[in-house]
């Protein structure tokens, strides 16, 4: 096995160390502290390296350190049996020797908490400002693109619509279907206490078209596509692809953001309507199995109790949510700078913020539509 042995003896002239074996990075854990001890021993030291089989830079460096520290303190150190190789290595590491800071320590400040709150507020304001600027740029680019439809990148829009919309059909459908089942089943349990099971149809129909269909879909799209936008654009920024676009004369907002924005805005109402229908299907199924309401009756009654305004409310909200998700995702992607860590951070921020904004806006919409009398 690869080991090094140190033979330590006291002679008339002083201390004599005889090293055998390998002095490599593998054995340095044991050898280093033992050589370190001798740095402060004033007795003249003779190091016999004649028996060394292999010395690597780490070994040479440990030897160099010993000699250097002893010489600094004025102690005598003599090396014998030094091969030219070891000597060259020691000279090389000696030349390279330097102390470096491994990581800047985090500065302890007074009012640490205050400083953090301050930084948080400053960061928030800055981000809000840049977000507004980004929104403005996007709107400008959108208007310009709509005025010159030839500048729209139809292929990119279609491709994004496929990724955001068509590929999401499976998961959005399944999720909505299950949500419909849960609403109908739980609603039935409660309403049965009053003998009003038939109102399950009102419950399922109104809540899915008005609220849940679009809200759940928006959350799913934010998680699927908002995050993807942030990660894609972020990685492209890291790889200087965005800069390359600028130098070629392709405005990144027009190339990257506008297609995603348009695709999401178109896909969201379609997905939301589809989601609502799937939830109705789930509700119908449970009503049939648990309450014995035949599907034909369910549909007929649905037409009577769900006003058209409910459907409109959902369909008006959906594209707005789409805009929010796309803009937030792209904005955070564009904010990526520095390292791969930033991509992760910004992707998380994109999802969290877009879901949050969607829910806040949903609350405003609820008040707004009620005030309109679309209750």
């Amino acid at each position: 096995m690869e080991t090094a042995t140190i033979h330590d003896e006291r002679t008339e002239e002083g201390r004599r160390l005889t090293l055998h074996g390998r002095l490599t990075v593998r054995v340095i854990e044991d050898i280093s502290p033992r050589l370190r001890e001798m740095e402060d021993d004033p007795v003249p030291l003779t190091l016999d390296l004649g028996g060394m089989k292999r010395v690597d830079t780490t070994g040479a460096w440990v030897l160099y350190r010993l000699v250097e520290h002893r010489t600094e303190q004025g102690f005598i150190t003599e090396l014998t049996g030094l091969t030219p190789r070891i000597e060259a290595l020691m000279a090389q590491v000696g030349k390279a020797n330097q102390m470096t800071t491994i990581r800047h320590p985090i500065r302890k400040r007074h009012f640490h908490l205050l400083a953090r709150i301050g930084a948080w507020v400053e960061g928030g304001i800055y981000q809000f400002g840049t977000f507004l600027a980004f929104l403005g740029l996007t709107m400008l680019a959108l208007v310009r693109a709509l005025m010159h439809p030839r500048r729209l990148r139809w292929l990119a829009i279609l491709r994004q619509a496929e990724v955001v919309g068509v590929s999401a059909l499976g998961i959005v459908g399944l999720m909505s279907f299950l949500v419909g089942i849960v609403i109908a089943q739980q609603g039935a349990v409660q309403l049965r206490q009053f003998g009003a099971e038939v109102f399950v149809i009102n419950l399922v129909g109104r809540i899915t078209f008005r609220e849940l269909g679009v809200l759940m879909t928006a959350i799913m799209v934010a998680g699927r596509s908002g995050s993807a936008f942030a990660a894609q654009i972020g990685s492209m920024k890291l790889a200087e692809e965005v800069d390359a676009m600028r130098t070629i004369g392709m405005p990144p907002i027009e190339v990257l953001v506008i297609p995603r924005l348009i695709a999401t805005t178109i896909a969201m109402p379609l997905l939301a309507f589809y989601g609502a229908i799937m939830a109705i299907v789930g509700g119908t199924l449970i009503s049939w199995l648990q309450l014995g309401i035949p599907p034909a009756i369910f549909i007929l009654r649905l037409q009577e109790v769900v006003p058209l305004t409910d459907v409109l409310v959902g369909l008006i909200k959906a594209p707005v949510f789409g805009i929010i998700i796309a803009v937030t995702g792209c904005f955070h992607g564009m904010q990526v700078e520095g390292s791969a860590e930033a991509v992760g951070e910004k992707t998380t921020a994109a999802v969290v913020q877009s879901i949050f904004l969607v829910i806040v806006l949903d609350a405003f919409f609820a008040i707004f539509f009620t005030a309109l009398g679309w209750a």
């Binding site: 096995m1 690869e2 490599t24 990075v25 593998r26 340095i28 854990e29 280093s32 502290p33 690597d56 830079t57 780490t58 460096w61 350190r65 190789r85 060259a88 290595l89 090389q92 590491v93 030349k95 390279a96 020797n97 330097q98 102390m99 470096t100 800071t101 491994i102 990581r103 800047h104 520095g338 390292s339 791969a340 860590e341």
Partner: protein, 270 residues
């Protein structure tokens, strides 16, 4: 644990009948190459001839379609986990773009292999990180910086420091001097040469830098037509009548590097 013997004779890397294929595109076909202990072998070839793919195959990062690759006399496929680790810690690899860990500082990057394979005191590790950076030509101020704060050339040096951190027997360098200024590139060449002489390092070097090829390579392997056309000292390569080799070494850049090399030798002689 079966320790792989160090003092084996014979080639350190042996590639036989290697075949690499991406879909219908064949990159390597029946490729043979052997690298001897303690030599610096340069690998050259036009763009897309699979220099990096060859390196990745040897490193075990790339599954190949057919052939056999042995390192230290052991086939790299089908090694037990422990053996594989044992082999791997004898490698130092410098990737083309550095491949530094972006969440760690430069000094921490250098310490990663030390931390992974050894249990050292923090003090010793910090000292080692310091001189490794020095060896690679970086000053102490680079230590606490993040890779994203470094220039391309400095990132390369930091990556070299990490590749050297375990004092490997075998060093893989993928275009180490690309993107370095000529002074830095010359210093890099010098460093590799010094380390080879002092440590008996074997170096597998992918490069387009003709000066590097002339100054430090013992042999140069030419990749063309999906295989290693020849692996020989440059002098012998010049005799081979192959259009690519002739264009490469006898083109304007090749000639000036050759002239520079002669100059150096003359100076060294006096």
């Amino acid at each position: 644990m079966s320790v792989i013997k160090d003092d084996q004779r014979g080639p350190i890397i042996q590639v036989e009948g290697l075949r690499n294929q991406f879909g219908s595109q064949i990159v390597h076909e029946d490729l043979d190459l052997s690298v001897n202990r303690g030599e610096i072998i340069g690998v050259v070839g036009g763009s897309g001839t699979g220099k990096t793919v060859l390196m990745r195959s040897i490193l075990g990062l790339q599954e190949f379609a057919a052939g056999k690759i042995s390192i230290f006399g052991k086939p790299i496929t089908g090694l037990a986990e422990k053996e594989e680790l044992e082999v791997r810690r004898r490698f130092g690899v410098l990737f083309q773009n550095g491949a530094l860990f972006s969440t760690l500082t430069v000094a921490e990057n250098v310490q990663v292999p030390l931390r992974e394979f050894h249990s050292m005191t923090t003090e010793l590790m910090d000292e080692i990180a310091g001189y490794k950076l020095g060896l690679a030509g970086l000053g102490p101020e680079a230590g606490p910086k993040y890779p994203s704060e470094l220039s391309g050339g400095m990132r390369k040096r930091a990556a070299l420091a990490r590749a050297l951190s375990l004092d490997p027997r075998l060093l893989f360098l993928d275009e180490p001097t690309a993107g370095l200024d000529p002074i830095g590139a010359a210093a890099f060449d010098h460093l590799i040469l010094e380390l080879r002489d002092a440590l008996g390092l074997t170096v597998f070097l992918i490069t387009h830098d003709l000066d590097t090829l002339y100054t430090i390579c013992d042999r140069v392997a030419v990749l063309a037509d999906r295989r290693v056309l020849a692996a020989a000292p440059i002098k012998e390569l010049l005799e081979i009548d192959h259009p690519w080799i002739q264009d490469y070494f006898r083109g304007p850049r090749g000639r000036s590097a050759m002239a520079g090399d002669r100059e150096n030798r003359k100076l060294a002689g006096t």
